[in-house]
Amino acid sequence: MSLRKFTRRAFLVGSAVIAGGVAFGVYTVRRDPENPLAEDLPEGAATFNPWVLIDAQKVTLIAPHADKGQGVMSVQAALLAEEMDLDWGGFEVSFGSPAKAYWNTALGDDSVPFRASDDSRLARVARGGADIAFKLLGMQVTGGSTTVPDSFDKLREAGAMARETLKAAAARRSGLAVADLGTESGAVLLPDGTRIPYTELAAEAAAITPVAAPALRDPSAWRLLGQPMQRLDIVEKSTGTARYGIDLAVEGMVHAAVRLSPHRGVVLSYDDSAARALPYVRQVLQIPGGLAVIADNSWHAMQGAEALEVEWAPAAYPPEQAGHWQRLADSFTEDALDRTWRNDGDVQAALPADAPAAEVLAAEYRSPYVAHAPLEPLSAIVRVDDAGVEIWSGHQMPREVQKAAARATGIEPEQVRFHNHLIGGSFGHRLEPEFISHASAIANQLRGTPVKLIYRREEDFATDFPRHIAMGRGRGAVRDGQVVALDLQIAAPSVTRSQMGRLGIPAAGPDNQIPAGAWNAPYAIPDFRVRAYAAEGLAPVSSWRAVGANGAGFILEGFLDELILQAGADPLAERIRLASDPVARGVLEAVGKMSGWDGVLPKGRGRGVALVESFGVPVAEVVEVTATEGGIRIDKVFVACDVGPVLDPVNFENLVQGGVVFGLGAAMNCEITYAGGAAEQTNFDSHEGMRLYQCPEIHVQSLGQAAKIRGIGEPPVPPTAPALANAIFAATGQRIRELPLYRHIDFA
């Protein structure tokens, strides 16, 4: 028991403790978790590893990373199909069941206190240690832009293993040597041209020990990867036939809606007489943290939920927004210091506390709480009966779904069957298992009857764990046209501790998401310090697309822009001069070329640049704006990044453009503010994001120089806000140090 605890800790600390050595037996670490496909394997079917299942009818590929729009169902299938020589679409894809075997092998990279570009021995040891911890935990999670780095080798190896084992089966049957056999279009090819489809070989292949570690194809031989491919879900998603979690129906189900505490606390008292008086309301149930209404359809259940009168216990955080900012302002203390993440040169000497104001530039920046608000509201169908729990929904952490349902029902996690489905957007929203707990708590009171719970949009906003709030204080100095000193303090709640706390996983140690995007900035400023302060007692928060780099990246890149202009330097040229690694310099230079940075813009127009690295991907963006009579119009955005090889150029461009739209929309007008303990924004009318008419031209380039393959789901987001704010300054002379920007300037 103590062993388990320690490994959990080691992973969460995500820092020095891991480097210090993790105590568990080599055997446990080496042993791979069991293949979940091998359980209940039907007669005549073959599985060689947790990703491939073949029977006499079809080939099924398992894509355990959840698809919330980022296209990973297709990418995972392509990695397998490439090595298996399957025709595109000549297979079925399943999201699989929750299993330790699907632990994420790329999480370790970003959970250690080393910069992504740091390849030192210590860094490698720490990453290895984190990796082992995630393996032991069986952390099956889609997040942190890790799907591609996690899957790139693993799934190609799984595909190659399947291919070679099928060839071995064909060799046995034909009496030929394996070396004489080839594969093509889902079949083994004999020298005389005979084709034996994989499906015909399933039963024989099942009897063979899978061929381990076959060589992978050289990228020059790829048929699918690197080419534009038609997403496997594109026809369904264009014809209304895709089925999301919210669209499912189970025989005999009833419909539920909830009213949950907007203060994240308990119910003090309630009056359900108005709700019960509605002819279609069948039941009102108490569940932890709120009430549920059961009715004959979702809309009626929602009407019932709205009719409830509830008095909620007050919030454990400041009821008014001003109190949240005050807590952050009060957190710049030695006691609250979470870690000094960067300390190059001698900042104290360069920026003494008593330096004359004229020699030191100082500023304060603010980044708000922001809701995830994917377009598909949270929903789940749950049935609880004596055999266990069955759940249909969409989630990024399938094993946490099992645990949440187990906690809510008292049934063992192993008795929880979870069917994952297409997800209508997430941005981190579906890392949280609360909605599963609530649906399970309702279904537990109605044992034997499946319950479909859909959150009203207002409930989805009220109970969201938003992106964390952050406040930054910068001091800096310039000399001879250069930025020479920068001292940054960032205060924020620890999103890792907040999130892991809800999952029941103890987290300790400094949280690298407080300074993410700032401490790891690839700039060689001679005197450069970044300190993170953990603010306590604030609203519970969660990972929001690119997490900490949004706030801290805005703070760093906004303040750096001020310093560069103070030095009288060019914002792009000075960033290039400061860039300390070749990939970062490369993307800055590329974005300069793409945007025609040196060209002069007419009065009233302006360009801004920002570079933020998140999840190992440095992304440079230039935003071009015009100050019109109706407000700021965003004309163009240029994005240069580097993820190594791009596996699907169309999906890649779509994701980057989408990240830019998402980030700019949030920077313009999205925030959650608290009043009376509840979020004031309740729907898309008050938390809108970008509309189509506001969407700029977005040009995207990936340089393909990076040594390691990376994911692109999140990294395009953090540079958007500072690049936009910097462009607004260039166009208008107005420096905005607070998001969302609409608080200070109008948008057309």
Binding site: G69, G71, E236, I246, H300, E376, G425, L692, C695, E697
Partner: protein
């Protein structure tokens, strides 16, 4: 009270206050039309009512007598997609895809009324349809593609 949905006649017993969105999704079993906000702010529930794009969350069952409704399921099918759907597939617009039923219904109505829309007309028609994944550049491209195809 009776109305047609995708050409089929319906006369169900309905709560007159129930929005068309939920009638489609949960009474008639047509979940292609999506719930996003319930207040007319996102466009995920867009359908055609007597040939016009409307927000199904804002149309009440009690007002449906004689209405002709077309949903995404009636516009085209995977085997025989409507030209706007074909353009959406060809352009690979969707990310999560949750907004796209509404986007496509809105675009189909735009192109039916204005076969060769200007950029400003596209902006005007499409800005009530939110896409949280940010597929707007591809939505614009798909509308232009569909308009172009229709022109021949």
């Amino acid at each position: 009270m009776s109305f047609t949905v995708n050409g089929a006649l319906h006369d169900p017993e309905l709560d007159p206050d129930m929005p068309l969105l939920w009638v489609l999704r949960e009474v008639l079993g047509l979940p292609g039309t999506k719930y996003g906000c319930g207040i007319g702010a996102c466009g995920a529930c867009t359908v055609h009512l007597n040939g016009e794009a409307v927000r199904a969350c804002q149309v009440l069952a009690g007002d449906l007598d004689g209405a002709e409704i077309v949903t995404i399921e009636g516009l085209g099918t995977p085997e025989a997609p409507h030209p706007v759907q074909a353009a959406w597939i060809e352009t690979q617009v969707a990310q999560c895809g949750y907004c796209q039923s509404g986007q496509i219904m809105q675009a189909a109505a735009l192109l039916a009324a204005t076969p060769a829309p200007t950029d400003a007309e596209i902006d005007e028609a499409m800005s009530g349809n939110l896409c949280r994944c940010g597929t707007y550049p591809r939505i614009r491209a798909a509308i232009r593609r569909a308009a172009h195809t229709a022109e021949g």
